[in-house]
Symmetry: C2
Subunit: 358 residues, 2 copies
Amino acid sequence: MSVVTIRDVAQAAGVSLASVSRALNGGKNVSARVARDVAAAADRLGYQPDFLARSLRTRTSGMVGCLVSDISNPLNATIVKAAEARLREAGYLLVVASTGNDPGRERAAAAEFRGRRVDGMLVAPGSDANAKAWRALVAAGTPVVIVDRDAPKDEDEDEDGVRWPAVQVDHRGGARAATRYLLGLGHRRIALLTADAVMRPSRERIQGFREIFAEAGVDPAGARLCLQSSAMDFAHGDTLALLRGDSAPTAIVALGTRILAGVLRAARDLGLVVPRDLSVMSVGDTDLAAVHTPAITALRWSLEDVGRAAADLLLRRLRGEAGHAQSHALLPVDLVLRDSCAPPAAQRAMPVAPSGTS
Amino acid sequence: MSVVTIRDVAQAAGVSLASVSRALNGGKNVSARVARDVAAAADRLGYQPDFLARSLRTRTSGMVGCLVSDISNPLNATIVKAAEARLREAGYLLVVASTGNDPGRERAAAAEFRGRRVDGMLVAPGSDANAKAWRALVAAGTPVVIVDRDAPKDEDEDEDGVRWPAVQVDHRGGARAATRYLLGLGHRRIALLTADAVMRPSRERIQGFREIFAEAGVDPAGARLCLQSSAMDFAHGDTLALLRGDSAPTAIVALGTRILAGVLRAARDLGLVVPRDLSVMSVGDTDLAAVHTPAITALRWSLEDVGRAAADLLLRRLRGEAGHAQSHALLPVDLVLRDSCAPPAAQRAMPVAPSGTS
DNA sequence: TTGAAAGCGCTAACAT
DNA sequence: ATGTTAGCGCTTTCAA
C-alpha cells in the first residue's frame, strides 16, 4: 500500500494540495517557509510520489521501451546497459522486451509498449518483417531510434531526405578493412559465416567484403558462404562440412559472436591448428576472442558508444530538439590484430588431394 | 497521442463507458450484442487501453522490477531473459535496473521501483549492504524474491522459521564436487580466484571447498586465495603474481565467468600449457569455457531454471498463493568434465626449487 | 443487463 | 504566493 499520498503531506504541513505539488516539483511560487514545511512533512511521512498518477496527468510515463532480439546476447546486453545508464540519468526508466526474433512477439511488445505509453523506443528488431509494428508507434507520435538495423524504406510517408533517427555501426567499413587484410595475407578462399545474410549488420559486412574483392580484381566466386545454421550449434556443423569439402577455405570470418565458438570448436574437432591450418577472424570482440589460444583477430566497435548514442539521440528527440542534422550516427569499427591469421602458404600442408595453385 | 479512449469506443458502439470496460475485460454481465459491437468499434478505432489509467484505478501496475548488479554479464542476462519470458506470459512487464554494484544506485532503483508501484521485485544485489532498501519495499507490502543471494538476517522482524522467498543455486554442493575431483587428481595447492569472497555465491563455494579439504584431512592453508582484482583485468594481474610466486598452485579455480578469461590469459602469457602445467576449472559454464582449447572443465547450472523459478515464485506470491512451503528453491550444480584438469604429477616439470612432496 | 457517477493521486488552470 | 477546482482514462460500486 502506498498509503501516504500528497494529500496526507498537505494536511501534515498545513498547506494545500497544490502547494505540496509545487514545492516537491521545485516549482516556482513557493515561499521558503512552505518549502521547508512540506519537505519536512514529506520526509517524516516517508511520502513517495505516485508515478502512475503523475503520468496519467502529465501524459508522459517517463519510460522508454527497448525492443531487442535477445538480451542474453552479451553484445546486446552491453548496449542495453549503456543506454539504460544514460536514460536513467535523464530520469527515464528503461523497459526491455526480449523478442527472440519472433515477429509475433515483436509486434506484441510494440503494442504493449504503446499501451504502457512509453515516451520513446529503442528498436533493434530481429527481422524487419514488421517495421510496420513500430511504424505504427511512430505514427502515434512516439519517438523511435533504430539501433544498428536498417531504417524502413518508407515507401509511403517519406518526406524527401528525412532519415529515420538511427545509430549505426560502420560494419561495411570494418569488413572492408578485414577483407583487405586477409587478401593481403594471400588468402583467396575466404568463407563468411553468418546466421542471417539479409539484415543490416551482416548485409553491410558482406557488401564491404565484396567491394574489396572487386577492387582487388579477385573473383569472390564461392568465397562467400552464408548459412542459417540451427541456432543451437552456432555453425559448428556447417563449419565442419565446409572444412571437409573440396575447396575448403583458408580463412573463415565468423560474423556474430556465437558463431566464433562453433568455428573454433569445429577446427579443434578436425585437429586443425589456428592459424597454421586455418585463419580465423571474429566480427565482434568478446572474451572468447581475446583470450583464446591463439588470440583471435577481431573487428571491434564500442558497444557502450552504441548504447549511449542511441540514448542521446532519443533524449534529444524527447526534449523536442528536432534537427534532422543530428538524427543519425555512424560509429567506427576497428580491426584488432592478434594471432589467429597467417598467410595461407603454410596452411593445409599436406591435404589428401593436392589441388592446383599453392 | 493516445487519442482514442474508452469514451470514443463507447460512443462509437452506442453504449456506456461501463459497458465497454466490462466487455473488454471479458467481464460478466455483457450481452452478446454489446460484446460484439464494442469489439468491432474498438477494433475499428484501433483502441488500446491505457495501462497507466487502469493501474491508477486498480492499484496494480502490472510491472515487476528487477534489481541486478550487471545486466551485461551473460549469466545475469540469461537469468533475466528467462524470468522476463515467464512474467510476460503472465501479463507482467519486467523493468530492469542495472546497478553496477553501487549501493547508492541500488537504493535509488528500489525507491524508483517503489514510486513506480511495481507489483513485485526480483533482487540480486551486488552487495548486501542495503538489504534495508528493499526491505523497505517489503515492509510496504511488495513481494520480493531473492535471486542467488543471501536472504537478510532479519534481526528485528523475524517470525521464527520464516525464510525470505528465494531462488538459490547449490554452489556449495558444486564446490564440494569440484574440490573432491581436484583432490582426487592429486592436487594439494589449489587457488580459488574470486572478486568477492563475502557475498553468497562465492562464500558458499569457498565453504564447500573448505569442507572437502577438512573431510580429506588436508590442510587448506595457503590454498585458498581471494582477491578483489581491479575489475578491469579480471584477475589477470593477480594470476600472474600468483603463478610466479613461490608455492604456485597446481590448479586454479576461477569463481566467476570473467575471471576465467584473466586466468587463461595469464597462463598463456607465462607460456604455461593447460592442463600439463596448470589445471584450470571454471565456475560457471560459458562459450569461452566450452570452446577454449583445451576445453575447460566447469561447474554448470541452469540459468534459465534460475530465472524461471524466480519468476514462478514471485507469480505465486502475486497471486496470493502464500504457503511458506514453496517459498524457496535450491537448484543443482553439475560438474562438466572436460580437458583442462590433469594430475599435478606432470605439472611444473622442472621448477627452480623442487619442494617436498610430489 | 446496463448506465450514471464516484474517485484512484496527481498536476495545471484559474482564482484569490 | 497560495488555495480551489477540474480533470487525465479507467474501473467499480450502486441504481435502475
